[in-house]
Symmetry: C2
Subunit: 201 residues, 2 copies
């Protein structure tokens, strides 16, 4: 165990408390935030779903649009469909490499955006999760400018979380908070461990 | 909208499908994974809570130990305490800069580890979330070797998710999947936007 002088520890922590309190006092704007979770590392969608849980814990209303549909029903879908205050839509047609049909993918993305736009126009929805929207943008299935316009026109207190690799630069510009998830290690890709329920699915 | 030749698109996607299917076929090991979410970016704990939701959606049993307790009850705590199959413990004594008392912090971390160890010995618990454990390790509140031993001795199919900045190198070594969350932008720190319910709390 590290040996630390308790008095020095208390002093250092009092100093840190002062800094943290100043930071909290400075951050006094109340507004809906646009959060983008991107990069190749694991944890983007799951983080979005964690925020959903957090919002529901505060009695907030949430909406979810999943732009990419996997082959199997996921744990998150089964779970959040059982909860109240959740409007859940899985709109994609499957991975782009499974559909192999660009026109069908574009139609699915357009239909998904219509549902998303309905949420972005509704001040009763406190948090909107647009899961894997970045993938649809990356493939050019949706017009970026339209998406950015609809995001900007949303109710001022509404939070939006956008996930997926390759977030476009203009979306990063517009966002309030952006995290890039870096792969340090990946069990599935590097170590031959099957995608696990509760972790990947 | 991007102009893409539909035939070329279908060919490229068929090629990608082949690669993805080979990767899935190669990943045939079934085992509990140890996942570490670290780095300064937003999304570590929320990602852990998202995996909790995912696991619950598959009917799995989960355990949570939060090593750092904030000043307020969080949305995630309120939410997951209402769910079945969740064993939820908030064990910390508050942020280190608020307690300013190292001995008290060490005692709280030890008590938290006892609860965590009980979960790590129980094959009926499918997923264990050790939220902000890295912070307790970083401050030397817990012996790293003991923590690593207990993690390694857990039931082979049990998943563990560890969150918090500054994950120790030896924990990264032991882990199957590790993501480092990089800050690209942060609303609270840089733009004076207050920590928002559903996002930070």
């Amino acid at each position: 165990m590290k040996k630390v002088d308790p008095l020095r520890h208390a002093e250092r922590m009092a100093h840190k408390q002062k800094i943290m309190n100043e930071r909290i006092a400075r951050a006094d704007k109340e507004q809906g935030v646009l959060l983008v979770l991107t990069g190749p590392g694991k944890g983007k969608s799951s983080s979005g779903f964690g925020m959903l849980a957090r919002a529901l814990g505060h009695g907030m209303k949430v909406g979810v649009v999943q732009f990419i549909k996997g082959k199997f029903q996921t744990g998150e879908e089964a779970f959040f469909r059982q909860q109240s205050n959740v409007d859940y839509h899985v709109m994609g047609e499957g991975y782009t490499w499974d559909t192999q049909d660009r026109d069908k993918d574009v139609q699915a993305a357009e239909a998904a955006w219509e549902v998303a736009r309905g949420m972005l126009e509704d001040p009763a929805v406190d948090l909107v999760l647009l899961d894997e929207l970045n993938i649809a943008l990356r493939h050019g299935y949706l017009e970026l400018d339209r998406v950015l316009d609809d995001l900007q026109a949303r109710p001022p207190m509404q939070h939006v979380v956008v996930t997926g690799r390759h977030a476009p630069e203009a979306l990063i510009e517009l966002a309030d908070t952006v995290t890039e998830m870096k792969v340090v290690k990946h069990a599935f890709k590097e170590q031959g461990i099957k995608a696990q329920k509760g972790i990947e699915l």
